[in-house]
Amino acid sequence: MRGGIERKMARWGVAFVMPAIVFFTLFSFYPIVSAFLTSLTSRKILSLLKPDFVGFRNYGYLLSSSDFWNSIRATAVFTLGTFIPLLIFSLVIAFFITGMKRGQRSMQLAYYSPAILSSVVAAVIWLSILDPRGLANQFLNTLLGIQGVDHHWLASSVMVQFSTILVYFWKYIGYFVIIFITGLASIPPSVYEAATIDGASRWQSFGRITLPLLRPTIAFVSIMSMLQCLKTFSTQYLFTQSGAPGAPINVITLNIYNTGIRDHLIGRASAMSIILFVIMLGFTAVQLRVSGGDKVSY
């Protein structure tokens, strides 16, 4: 009899996930399979001729191209430089905000406010700020008590990488703060009450109770933020369009876009997309395993 119930439950489970499977098949898997097939050809975007099948030659070309390896480097720098601070700061800020007695809502709104801006506008704002005459130089010079130094926010190859990280951090910090706040809200207050009675300090309860119970959320945020970083495009695109040197911030997505759209080499661009896809898949699998985000019990 027990087996019958399990079978019935399994059928319900399948029924619940079926709509999503149909949806993702049509709008995600079919296109990515199509992109993979394109990556095995020398297709040019406007050509009406049947493209030549070239096997894995596009992949071979990329792996021996210094331009592509520079993109890998730029993406790695950006991802590590952004997602680790994002994870740590959003967790700490969320934890402190939930500890406040008053003003939680205004705090959340303040941190979330960058998200209300359209990304086009965010870019216009930041380009004005990072302009040599803009607020960034004025602010830093006032802070350091110096005058008239241009910090080359967009011009020098080191600073421009930092600037992309800064803009991204600013834009997404509130997003992850509210996810952590939701996660913290799901921890029953009774657990803390018990800990307080046991005489645990706030820091102790953070380490012993909050962190372990937040594991699914931490896994979630770290995966999400890392994927977001790997997929970053608009900030780098707009910076390069506005005079910033291209090579230091030529992340993979930007390279895909330029190769496919500007240079019309859609076969090669597809190969790059597939490589990026595989990299992201690998990282996510590792993170899921390491964080053990799947097993939590009270």
Binding site: K44, I45, L46, S47, L48, S128, L130, D131, P132, R133, N137, Q147, G148, V149, D150, H152, W153, L154, A155, S156, S157, Q241, S242, G243, A244, P245, G246, A247, N258, I261, R262, D263, H264, I266
Partner: protein, 430 residues
């Protein structure tokens, strides 16, 4: 069995009818889709032309779709890749050339476009301007505009810096450095007022002529060699290095676009590079400044030791028609293009776009347009920008070289060496 075959036959006929049901017969109503870039002044007059055209051609509906000029090339590519391109579109020749090369656009139907014959069409335009869209004796596009850039100058700032704009305006690039240094105001390293600054991402139009003045070339005449004339290139790269923040600090690509701030007359830039259309922008953004007459246009400067005079290169927007739409609709598209383009004086007057027809260039409207003579004279000693399937990539390589010397402190020799290798590789791939 026979009955089954009959059934299958009937079904397939019905299927075929149904499949073709969406394409109308020879005289059914048609909808012409037209994609173009955003330009409010142009939208205004073209919407009117379209209304007139629809009234004169019953059964024809025109859908005019505008998008930002940076996004149009991307949208066109995606739509054409899906074989769903619009009936016709306009695009810069650097982007448009690939559509001709890949057989995606149809040759002009001269009669539909309102010309008596093919030769009448060719004769209507200034010599050579149809060359970029002519392949194997066929012409594939009609120019909406042909634009070259010259230098807009703010007289108030000149006078403020103790210069006489009419006497002291820069004629050579060496003058340009001197004048810009005299005008520049800096807060430490930060420029709060610039003399002139380049129009950075557009290197093919605005940097290549500097190289050519010194005898160099982007591509050799036989089309085999990229980056010709080391000395000329080195001199230009060194010039850019000196211009940038690590040299004389006269400007940099990361400052706000020169031509954007020019209109504000905000005492922050004295000279900017732009086309004839800029005058209309000034009027639109800052009527007071426009009316004051405190601005003027001067020719593109030459190097002191130039071996030949070259103005800023010109570029064009051409209308092209999708070859994948039914022939009747292609005809209608050319008819509409012809009708819209038959108002060159209004385009010039209201939008600031110059159609390179012989009639317009000789017309009173053109000759009386302020500073049109400066642009026309510069165009005389210039030629069309480099266009090919890979021109965007070529521009990117030049950009990389300039950024390397201006911003990353690389030596001009090293930047040139790397540019030569990459550009040649790109050219050989063609």
């Amino acid at each position: 069995m026979k009955r089954l075959l009959l059934l299958v036959f009937c079904l397939s006929i019905m299927g075929a009818l149904w499949a073709t049901g969406t394409t109308e017969g020879d005289d059914g109503p048609i909808t012409i889709k037209f994609w173009t870039h955003e330009d409010p002044a142009r939208t205004e007059i073209e919407e009117r032309y379209i209304q007139e055209f629809e009234a004169a051609n019953p059964g024809v509906t025109v859908e005019r779709v505008t998008n930002s000029s940076k996004k149009v090339p991307e949208l066109l590519l995606t739509a054409f890749a899906a074989n769903e391109g619009p009936h016709f579109f306009n695009t810069q020749i650097e982007d448009g050339y690939a559509y001709i090369a890949n057989g995606r656009v149809a040759p002009i139907d001269a009669q539909a476009a309102g010309f008596t014959s093919d030769s009448a069409l060719i004769n209507a335009y200034v010599d050579g301007v149809l060359d970029p869209v002519s392949v194997g004796g066929d012409v594939y596009g009609l120019p909406l505009e042909l634009t070259n850039w010259a230098i807009y100058l703010n007289k108030r700032i000149f006078r403020d810096a103790g210069l006489d704009p009419d006497a002291d305006y820069p004629r050579t690039w060496e003058d340009m450095v001197e004048v810009s240094e005299a005008i520049a105001i800096r807060d430490g390293q930060i420029l709060t007022r610039r003399g002139y600054d380049f129009r950075y991402p557009y290197y093919l139009v605005s940097l290549i002529p500097m190289v050519e003045q010194l005898g160099g070339q982007l591509i050799s005449d036989d089309g085999q060699t990229a980056i010709v004339g080391d000395e000329a290139w080195l001199k230009v790269l060194t010039f850019m290095q000196q211009w940038g923040p690590n040299g004389m600090n006269l400007g940099s690509p990361t400052y706000t676009n020169a031509r954007k701030t020019f209109n504000q007359d905000n005492n922050d830039i004295a000279m900017a590079l732009s086309g004839l259309y800029q005058a209309g922008r000034i009027r639109n953004d800052n009527q007071e400044f426009y009316d004051s007459g405190d601005w003027m246009v001067i020719p593109y400067p030459q190097f002191e030791d130039a071996v030949k005079e070259v103005g800023a290169l010109y570029y064009g927007h051409y209308y092209m028609v999708n070859i994948q739409v039914p022939e009747r609709e292609q005809k209608m598209a050319w008819k509409l293009i012809g009708y819209m383009l038959s108002h060159p004086e209004e385009y010039l007057d209201r939008v600031g776009l110059t159609q390179p027809t012989k009639a317009l260039m000789a017309s009173k409207t053109f000759l009386s347009t302020p500073y049109a003579d400066v642009f026309a004279a510069d165009m005389e000693r210039s030629h069309i920008v480099y266009y090919a399937e890979d021109s965007a990539r070529m521009q990117e390589l030049v950009k990389e070289a300039v950024e390397a010397v201006m911003l990353s402190g690389e030596s001009p020799e090293k930047a040139l060496a790397s540019l030569k290798v990459k550009a040649q590789e790109l050219l050989d791939q063609q």
